[in-house]
């Protein structure tokens, strides 16, 4: 067995360490003792450092944990289903659909009756984002029901992403500067705005998605052999494909709704996890993706809040950091792969 028994404990340790790091950094510098006290009780609950830890740092770190795990598995599901190393939630069109929903809301807001806005619920931006992601997902599902092969489906997802991008560009052209700014801030991605109630909703959705993905480990494994071989092994390929897309969309849609589009995590984590675990069995690889994804996003979020360039000025945009890590990682794996099989 090439499996290292220490691997999972080490990954867990990495997640815990990254969690502490993320909690420790922010635009107000807190001493180590204040962080410790804030986390493990002690001290006045109304003291500023405790308020900051409880209301700002902890929700952000929990969001990073949940979103990282969810995006890692979403990326894994899509890469397995499409048998492509370049598949990810963005390639499915989920991020673009969410962006379209947000752009539509921002553009149309002055024209909408208040009743309609109220109908979106307490978190209008999240609702608009989820609706957009859901619409993109439905479109991909409709195509998946008719198109048999994964390559065409991936192309369809890319075309949807392009179309959404074009529509968003059009909307941006007609919006005023203030709303443009809000849209572009949303587009940077960020975990700082996720409050505890939002965290609860996101964690519930991601939790359901992760459990479902784990339950489907067997058929996922068979999918690696191709649609025909998987069918010959007893997998109901069409139904399974729809289920996988639904789960991936639930994960990516819920996360994008509350955190904005987070780049590269869904794409890079499965490659990283596979390099560490050196096995392809989803029963091992999916938990690894959860841990690697959580650790990666926690680390990126910590870096974006690190003292230095941000300072009191708040965080660097999250997507800049994840891209900084993610893009070279993906490139590295692609090059290594092509070098090996030639």
């Amino acid at each position: 067995m090439t499996k290292n028994p220490l691997l999972f404990p080490l990954l867990l340790l990495a997640v815990v360490s990254a969690f502490f790091l993320d909690v420790a950094f922010g635009s107000v510098s807190l001493g180590a003792r204040e962080v410790w006290q804030g986390l493990f009780g002690g001290g006045d609950p109304t003291a500023l450092s405790n308020v900051i830890l409880r209301e700002f740092r902890l929700p952000r770190a929990v969001a990073a944990l949940v979103a990282g795990a969810g995006l890692g598995v979403a990326g894994f599901l899509l890469q397995t289903q499409f048998r492509s190393p370049l598949a990810g939630p963005a390639e499915l069109g989920v991020s673009s659909g969410a962006g379209l929903g947000v752009a539509a809301l921002l553009l149309a807001e002055p024209l909408l009756p208040p009743a309609l806005l109220d109908a979106l619920g307490p978190w209008p931006l999240a609702a608009a984002s989820a609706l957009g992601a859901g619409a993109a997902m439905l479109l991909v599902l409709a195509i998946a029901a008719r198109v048999w092969d994964s390559a065409s489906l991936l192309l369809a997802g890319l075309m949807i992403a392009s179309a959404c991008g074009a529509a968003i560009g059009l909307m941006q052209y007609f919006t005023d500067a203030a709303r443009l700014k809000v849209y572009s801030l949303w587009g940077f991605g960020g975990l700082g705005g996720v409050t505890w109630p939002q965290n609860a909703v996101m964690a519930a959705c991601v939790g359901v998605g992760l459990v479902a993905a784990l339950a489907l480990s067997r058929p996922l494994y068979a999918t690696l052999l191709g649609d025909s071989a998987a069918a010959a092994l007893g997998v109901r390929v069409r139904a399974f494909r729809v289920t996988v897309l639904l789960i991936a969309s639930l994960l990516a849609g819920a996360i994008t709704a509350f955190c904005g589009p987070i780049a590269f995590v869904g794409l890079a984590v499965p490659h990283l996890a596979r390099a560490l675990v050196r096995r392809s069995d989803p029963r091992v690889l999916q938990p690894a993706c959860m841990l690697v994804g959580a650790a990666l996003l926690l680390l990126c979020d910590a870096i974006s809040h690190a003292p230095g360039p941000g300072g009191e000025g708040g965080a660097l945009p999250l997507n800049a950091i994840t891209s900084l890590f993610g893009a070279p990682a993906v490139l590295y794996f692609l090059l290594r792969r092509s070098g090996r099989s030639s």
Partner: protein
């Protein structure tokens, strides 16, 4: 040093011959019938001023680039503040076109937009030149945020339409911004009225400021609202900071030297302004419970817990047109009066401001 004397009477005409007293972004000098006008900082980072010459004569007369024939009778206002200036002088009837009806508060102009006697011509890249040509304006008043926006106005200039770029928004002193009404007065041939209006405003403003200075307490004020966890806070030398200082408030970022906004983390703002007495301009939400739904963490602010949150939406139309930006630009004394009432008084008889309901 500001004079403390309270002037109860409007001041007489001789001031029309003088250039601006407060405004920094503009300079003018009168010699005979001609006024040489220089908009010194038409936008942030402008390299050179925009020069104009204001001459009497019929609008149709031959003119060179940069010349404006006065008085202008058919005026296009591409920004709502221009409507505010004209309306303050009673000359809103001269407005023949605006950028968009829904940006204007003034009831009269809105009604004329509705019956098509005032045209909507868009602005920026969406400026409809053909429509503008059809209404045959004597003068187009515009704001330019940068050199490229100014360049897009060149199309108008090439078509022979006089364009005057104003920069009242660049002023960080409320009186300086209001003083631009004197320039507008010159453009419509009502200098005397404009000067006397401004003198009244100036006196009233200074009176309020003195009143505020005499107060014992200096309440702290929190401004704005965050997007997610990023808070753009007004700089220490910004317009709002100046207004707050004149209102006798303590601004936590008064020591900051920027004129624009400072991006800060939500945490940092909480650390400094958690116990601020008053919260102004939360912008996105109009009732406390709406704010709570957006982000439950707002309740960590003392001002929020006590309900001392105010916004200038008492005179705001449902589609967003806010008189605060229109007549408020000409009457900073009224704005100051509101602020003084909020900070030092009962928060009653407010004109532009309104306390946010639960």
């Amino acid at each position: 040093m500001l004079s403390v004397a309270i002037l109860a009477q409007p001041v007489a005409a001789p001031l029309s011959n003088a250039g601006p007293r407060h405004a920094r972004a503009v300079e003018w000098a009168r010699s005979g019938d001609t006024v040489r006008l220089s908009v010194i900082t038409p936008w942030k980072g402008a390299r050179k001023p925009l020069e104009y010459v204001l001459l009497p004569g019929a609008p149709g007369a031959k003119r060179a680039e940069g010349e404006v024939r006065l008085p202008a009778r058919r005026i296009v206002c591409l920004a709502a503040v221009h409507v505010g200036f004209l309306a303050a002088l009673g000359e809103a009837g001269r407005v023949i076109a605006v950028d968009a009806g829904r940006h204007v508060y003034d009831a009269g102009v809105r009604a004329r937009v509705a019956d098509r006697s005032v045209m909507e011509v868009g602005s920026g890249t969406g400026l409809d030149i053909e429509r503008l040509l059809v209404v045959k304006p004597d003068l187009v008043l515009a704001n330019a945020v940068g050199a490229s926006e100014n360049a897009s106005l060149d199309r108008l200039r090439r078509a022979g339409i006089p364009v005057l770029v104003t920069a009242e928004w660049m002023e960080s002193d409320p009186l300086a911004r209001a003083e631009w009404v004197r320039l507008i007065g010159m453009l419509v041939g009502k200098s005397a009225r404009a000067d006397s209006l401004f003198a009244t405003v100036e006196a009233s403003y200074r009176a309020r400021a003195a009143e505020a200075r005499g107060q014992k307490s200096r309440p702290t004020v929190l401004l704005g609202a965050p997007f997610r966890d990023q808070w753009f806070v007004a700089g220490g030398r910004s317009f709002m900071a100046r207004l707050l200082r004149d209102a006798g408030a303590e601004y936590p970022w008064a020591a900051d030297t920027t004129v624009g906004g400072v991006p800060l983390g939500f945490e940092a703002v909480l650390a400094r302004a958690r116990d601020a007495d008053v919260w102004l301009h939360p912008s996105d939400w109009h009732a406390l419970r709406e704010g709570l739904k957006r982000d439950a963490r707002f309740s960590s602010f003392t001002a929020f817990k006590r309900g001392d949150v105010y916004d200038h939406d008492a005179r705001r139309r449902p589609d967003g047109a806010d008189d605060y930006w229109e007549s408020g630009a000409v009457r900073p004394d009224r704005v100051l009066a509101d602020l003084v009432s909020i900070l030092h008084g009962q928060g009653d008889s407010l004109f532009y401001y309104r306390r946010l309901p639960k």
